[in-house]
Amino acid sequence: MTSPDAKDSDRQGKTVVTIEDLYKSYMLGRMELPVLRGLNLSFYGGEYVSIMGPSGSGKSTLLNILGCLDKPTGGRYLLGAEDISTLDDNQLSAIRGKRIGFIFQSFNLIRQLNIIENIEVAMYYQHVPKHQRRRRAIMLAERVGLADRIKHRPFELSGGQQQRVAIARALANDPLIILADEPTGNLDSQSGAEILEILNELNAQGKTIIVVTHDEQIASQTHRSIHLLDGQIDRIQSNGTGE
């Protein structure tokens, strides 16, 4: 693999995400259903964190908020220097595109686009010029080992390959954080191991990665595991590999 993005080295050890007293509730009819109840968290540049917890513990809500797909009901969320809770929809879109790389359980590639175009999508919305977009997409495809597949369509690839495309896409705009939601959940153990290997390498190169998982084995590879229960932090477990 090629060298990590230059900016990552500047971020090492600095706080990239700060959550203060984060509160989120949904309205079910007239009843207010609290999902997150006062979370305080910080993530640092170059950190590899896992978020764990049983169903209904608020993991996915937290991930939606971290990914700027949702806004908190109360509290503050600082991504880099920006306070997310004050931004409007267009600004949130821009933040998602520039600062966050998503890796989904179900890969979520766009069917009608080929591999290289799927990687380009995120850059397209940031108005990166076409030739630059193409160059970087090819570089990223090489980085995840799919240089010979760039003209294929998603359904022509195996699950593991599709997830590698998704990783390349997540890296496209050199985001502050990479959010991975059960990245191996739809894969067989072999492909899953390959994906984890890539994530480890990315982290080793300085990427900040937050992964949501049920899998203890994945969690054990991360620096820290944050366990949620009923919308609150149950415990934070340090796995001793990093920091």
Partner: protein, 478 residues
């Protein structure tokens, strides 16, 4: 910027191409809508131009007075043995010439169908008895020889001018000039050949504007001096037959045409004429035809015609537009997940709107273009097979193309707006409706991928796993 627009259009094209059949069928609505607008307008325009040409041929500054047989009950009152006298008279001509200063040209005409003989050939043609200045009303083109002259008039010469139809029938190979033809037992020397008037005015019209004689198997015309006609044929015509035995009619003139110098004078002159005629004719044995009025009426009719045809066509365009909106709504809901992905990757609402709107506009523009081609072909077919004149105006082309583009924008806006306002979280979580042996799902393999893993999938579905996006269940938690 331009390259970005082209990029957007290319991506839209790709999405549309993925559903070729659906896109094609949707476009068809617009194609037929636009084609019908263009062809309806072309047919309407053609019909009105034809009518206007025919009327213009009568002359927009002319007023035509025509002899008509008075109503029947008066005929019954009159003794059946006597000769019935009616119609326009020479005296009327003189009166007009003397009392109406605006009457620039007054042309009396008498028409009578007769058989014309030349050697062994014959033809039934209309004998038009008229004056030399007849040519000032009707643009008569002299092909050979000359038309009637004041000398012919003055001396009641036994000469005639034939038109092309008569020429073709009687003189297949001979030079007609100087030959004698026989009409009602008397000889007339041919001095000229003129072009058919009916050929000039287009197809024989059905608006009864031409003289009635032409409808009953009479073809061609022979022009003779009015004075000659008066001398040789007289004015009385006796008919034998019927249960009553004998009846007679006396008609001096069949038609008087008055030409005024300008269109503004047409209507006032008409009023004066009507007064004058009413005073001197006890019976209503004449008819006043004003081509200018007919022209205006034709314009009104044309406008109405165009509105009716246009609205029918517009409705079909509207239906096409609704069809497009319907399909786009289906497309949007089918691609909910794609919208979610794009939003997660940084697409703003405006980006989503542009994407779906450009697909709709592309559909309608392609439909509009195809419709224009089809719309240009249909009138040609109508002209060839339906024998109807059609005129395609550039205005109709631009109008219908503009309408189709407008429909694309209007009907694309709502689906695009809906797409843009989807909650990104919801749309990322979106699953397709559970397939249960519906044919659609066989086509759309993705449907299976998005099923939750809770109930056992059939082995057949498992086989497809390789081309599926998510074979083992779905992220419900993100």
């Amino acid at each position: 910027m331009l390259s970005r627009i082209i990029g957007i259009l290319l991506i839209s094209l790709r999405s549309l191409w993925m559903h070729r059949l659906r896109s094609g069928l949707t476009t068809l609505g617009i194609v037929f809508g636009v084609a019908s607008v263009i062809s309806m307008l072309a047919i309407g325009e053609g019909a009105s131009q034809q009518a206007q040409q025919q009327i213009a041929h009568l002359g927009s500054t002319n007023i035509i007075l025509r002899t008509v047989k008075p109503p029947d009950q008066e005929v019954a009152d009159a003794s059946q043995q006597t000769i019935q006298e009616y119609g326009l008279r020479y005296a009327d001509t003189e009166r007009f010439r003397e009392t109406i200063p605006d009457a620039q040209v007054v042309v009396p005409v008498r028409r009578k169908p007769k058989q014309i003989f030349y050697q062994s050939r014959r033809i039934t043609a209309e004998i038009v008895g008229t004056v030399p200045w007849y040519t000032e009303l009707v643009p008569i083109e002299v092909l050979l020889g000359r038309f009637l002259t004041p000398m012919d008039m003055h001396y009641s010469q036994a000469i005639c001018v034939v038109d092309e139809t008569v020429l073709d029938h009687l003189f297949k190979f001979d030079d007609p000039i100087g030959r004698d033809v026989k009409i009602s037992g008397e000889y007339y020397r041919v001095v000229g050949v003129v072009r058919d008037i009916s050929a000039v005015s287009g197809a024989q019209d059905d608006t009864s504007l031409q003289s009635s004689a032409q409808s009953n198997g009479v073809s061609g015309a022979v022009y003779i001096a009015l004075a000659t006609m008066k001398n040789r044929f007289g004015e009385t015509e006796i008919q034998f037959g019927g249960s009553t035995g004998m009846s007679g009619e006396k008609v001096e003139l069949s038609e008087i045409t008055i030409k005024v110098p300008s269109m503004e004078l047409v209507l006032p002159t008409r009023v004066v004429l009507a007064d004058l005629l009413e005073r001197h004719h006890k019976k209503k044995d004449y008819q006043i035809i004003v081509p200018l009025e007919l022209l205006r009426q034709a314009a009104r009719t044309k406008r109405l015609f165009s509105i009716v045809l246009g609205s029918i066509a517009a409705i079909s365009l509207l239906v096409g537009g609704i069809g497009i909106m319907n399909i786009m709504l289906a497309t949007v809901s089918e691609r909910t997940r794609e919208i979610g992905i794009r939003r997660a990757l940084g697409a703003r609402k405006a980006d989503i709107i542009v994407q779906f709107l450009s697909e709709t506009v592309l559909l309608t523009l392609v439909g509009g273009l195809l419709g224009m081609i089809l719309g240009a072909c249909i009138p040609i077919l109508v002209t060839v097979f339906g024998k109807m004149p059609t005129v395609i105006t550039p205005g109709a082309m631009i109008l219908s193309f503009g309408i189709s583009a407008g429909i694309g924008l209007t009907f694309g806006l709502y689906p695009a707006y809906q797409a843009a306002n989807m909650d990104p979280i919801e749309s990322l979580r979106h699953e397709y409706p559970p397939p249960r042996n519906s044919p659609q799902d066989i086509v759309n393999a993705d449907t299976y991928n998005n099923l939750p893993n809770d109930d056992a999938k059939s082995p057949k579905v498992q086989d497809r796993v390789h081309d599926n996006e998510f074979p083992f269940g779905v992220a419900r938690n993100f």
